[in-house]
Symmetry: C2
Subunit: 144 residues, 2 copies
């Protein structure tokens, strides 16, 4: 039997390789140049080059010139890339809670004026999502 069909698998096939989501993180922080991304992620330069090319090929990142002589490029998130920010926020929330509870490495303020804590909710009613989902349907539903 083939593996379960699933958008989680499909997304991880694009961004699940080591370093890729950290590249997206740096771009979301406005760090757009190769040197800065390399330093802040710790990714080996050859792997980082490969990751950036793949992110560009899959429409998550676009490259823009910032110098003509010599030719130099900056990297920007596309709209699809920006939307991966939701994945980053949940990874951060989990790590803050379970690995860095004493002293989270980074805190944000939300526009409402309060310190930010992420919650994943139902877009319709605004209530917590996890533990309140039921009746899965679709070709991804399989048993044991």
């Amino acid at each position: 039997m083939p593996p379960r069909e699933c958008s989680i698998t499909d997304t991880l096939n694009l961004v699940g390789e080591r370093w890729t989501l950290l590249v997206v993180r740096e771009l979301s922080h406005g760090v757009r140049r190769f040197e800065g991304i390399a330093r802040n992620t710790g990714a080996p330069r050859d792997i980082l080059t490969t990751r950036l090319r793949r992110l560009e090929a899959t429409g998550i990142v676009r490259r823009e010139p910032y110098s003509a002589h010599p030719p130099r490029y900056e990297y920007h998130l596309t709209e699809a890339g920006e939307e991966l920010g939701d994945v980053l926020l949940t990874l951060m929330a989990w790590g803050d809670r379970h690995l860095n509870a004493e002293d989270p490495p980074m805190r944000f303020q939300h526009a409402c004026g309060h310190g930010f804590t992420a919650a994943v909710v139902c877009a319709h009613c605004g209530q917590q999502a996890r533990e309140q989902l039921h009746s899965p349907t679709g070709r991804g539903v399989v048993t044991g």
Copy 2:
């Protein structure tokens, strides 16, 4: 300079390896036995064994016997493991939207009675999180 200190990095160091989040997905669907997890993820058996051991060692999964002769085990998510469900929901939402928009592999109903769409919001005010965060502080804040 060392890489940016970040809970995203720390979380990915625990669950960022290939197959690991798919194992958590299967457990969240109630698929608890090795054979089912292997089939539904497509993970090679030797790698799956390694991943399950690491998930147990890091407190994300616990193992419970379901047969004494021969000894056989089921895998369950701990509370920390259940909370990774938020990460899975955002990965699924992104893939549903950007890779499977025509025909999402799986849909859920939320307890409110509506078809489920995930949203990541500020736990305090309930408004969208992305694009509304500012003023990062902490040792993870670095420049270009």
